[in-house]
Amino acid sequence: MTNWKTFYNRIIRQVYLERGAEGFDAVGIARRELQNIDFRIVSDESEIPEEHLKGTTLYLRRHRGHQVGRCPGSHGHLCCNYHTIDLYAGCALGCSYCIMRSYLNFSPVTVYVDPEPAVQLVRELALQKKGETLRIGTGEVGDSLLYDPLFQLSEPFIRGLSDLDNVHFEMKSKTDFVDHLLDIEPKGNAVIGFSLNPPEIADLEEGIASAVQARIAAAKRVVEAGYRTSFHFDPVFRQANWRELYFPLIDSLAGFRKEAIAWISVGTFRYTPPLKDKIADRPYLYEEFVPSADGKHRYIQRVRAQMYRELIERLRAVTGVTAYLCMESAAIWKRVYGRMPDEVEELKGVFDDDPARLKG
């Protein structure tokens, strides 16, 4: 278990606070934890000095605009009906392959300290779509839990959505920072998920993320506490010995009951040309890639399909769960599952709108 107080002293150097956001609970909690850091009040991000426009700076602000939205998906690729909440935008973990390197220009990590409007938005959405499943998460543009012990912003979502049967609120992380969430009651359908790569890859490519075994241990703790967990094998890297790396990792999930796993996703590594420009020295780029319909470069279709088949088969054998594919084409779905996602019986609930199918 990572000592997150020591950890934050290493990764946070400056905190800027938007004028008017001083009174939110999350700000008060963070002030108590970060007593050695001066919270400087600014009118907006343009007042943050250039030398502080970096990942060790936090910018605390209220959200304006659409905090809750559909996952943008990818042109020509099938979307898994996921909704996103902007809570922590940006990330200091430093994963080499992170797509945010190519599209988040404002490098300080933005923390939206006013969760209540988003909770209300999700509630309204859930009530409008009462007969439909709403999978929604905070891990789209940042790590859901990296800063959460400091701001406790997941808690209002867990509590505030717990009475909604059709809402599955997911926190997705590469950390093991879950202990502040364990005692929250009621938990509703909240899911605490972990992004996984083999330690040999994570140690090289996932910056200061928690050790993979620590993430899996955290998954066990959240399950023991009464949450369901999820696993995201994304991005999966192809290299000569990829089976020797990924299969033992999958095997290490053998202790999880099928009912404790809300879902598992798999996606092979992909990149946009601007991302490649920023990470040109990484050895995994010397595999063969071809451009896809969405402009991202992926492994050759035949190669991906083979990897997916083997990974999904292994995951099913070990956990009993049928994994779904993240941002993949219809052609790949047909080659891997023999049919489209809404026709795969075990994935109904993820890809269709029946809330009863996703219950733990």
Partner: protein, 286 residues
């Protein structure tokens, strides 16, 4: 303002002589002495080198000069030059180097704006400064852009020279060749001699870009080869066209044909039926 003789001006330090191009000095205006005075700071001629040279050629014996303050003298030179965004790489690098010598007497932000029109001048020049000389020269000559030069900086000079000297290659072909070569070198751990030998082999091919692409992408090349062989086997000389999805990324193949007689249609149909027999082989490529 005062006048100085040409020999006196020529005796001043030339370290500010960083501008290699610029508008020519009009001889009529020179003779009429209608031109901007030269800028001088202590022992430095700060700006006006072109006038000095042109005046000598026109037989003018003295030129007007203005003494300026040391603080901000490079910025004065840039303002007089007035070519924001139009400096060559060589000029920009000279300005960057000179600025390093002048230190805090210049305001870096103003210099960046005067040179590039934005705040990115120093970041860009730091990147440029890290490149080996042969790639700096290639950028200066417009053969490469900075981001490509950075990607290919692990290639030995001999290999780059071979590519640059090959005739008939467009800018984008050179770029593709060099990027693929750099990636192959890293992927396969090739020594300098090995990658240079590979360049020689590739450039000897009729289509060097394609030849290198096949080496960079052996699996895709294998798929292409298998597909072409399949086509030869099943559709050659039949009038039936068989197309694979681009990069074998997609759902299916396309068959097309035209016909004008019943007999022709029958022959095409027979070809399609033969294709069906080999369909497993096609499926395996996607």
């Amino acid at each position: 303002m005062r006048y100085m003789t040409l020999p006196d001006i020529a005796a001043l330090s030339r370290r500010f002589d960083v501008f290699e191009t610029g508008p020519a000095c009009d001889s009529q205006l020179l003779k009429a002495r209608l031109f901007t005075p030269l800028a001088v700071c202590g022992d430095d001629l700060v700006w006006g080198f072109r006038f000095l040279k042109a005046a000598g050629a026109e037989g003018i014996s003295e030129l007007p000069v203005v003494q300026i303050e040391p603080h901000g003298r490079l910025l004065v030179a840039l303002k007089l030059e007035n070519r924001t965004g139009r400096y060559s790489w060589k000029e920009r690098y000279s300005i960057y180097t000179l600025l390093g010598e002048l230190g805090e007497s210049e305001d870096a932000e103003s210099i960046s704006l005067a040179v590039s029109g934005n705040a990115g001048f120093f970041a860009m020049m730091k990147r440029y400064a890290c490149l080996p000389g042969h790639l700096k020269a290639a950028i200066n000559e417009g053969r490469l852009d900075l981001s490509i030069a950075e990607k290919v900086c692990t290639l030995p000079e001999a290999a780059c020279d071979l590519v640059f000297s090959r005739t008939g290659l467009s800018f984008s072909m050179v770029r593709e060749l060099l990027v693929n070569l750099a990636e192959i070198r890293r992927r396969d751990g090739l020594a300098a001699g090995e990658i240079t030998a590979l360049v020689r082999d590739v450039l000897a091919a009729g289509d060097p870009v394609k030849a290198l692409f096949l080496i960079r992408n052996p699996e895709l090349s294998g798929l292409t080869g298998r597909f072409e062989a399949f086509k030869d086997r099943y559709t050659a000389q039949t009038g039936v066209s068989l197309k694979a999805p681009l990069y074998f990324e997609g759902d299916g193949y396309t068959v097309s044909f035209s016909f004008s007689t019943k007999a022709e249609l029958r022959r095409k149909r027979e070809t399609i039926e033969r294709l069906e027999e080999g369909c497993d082989e096609l499926e395996d490529l996607l």
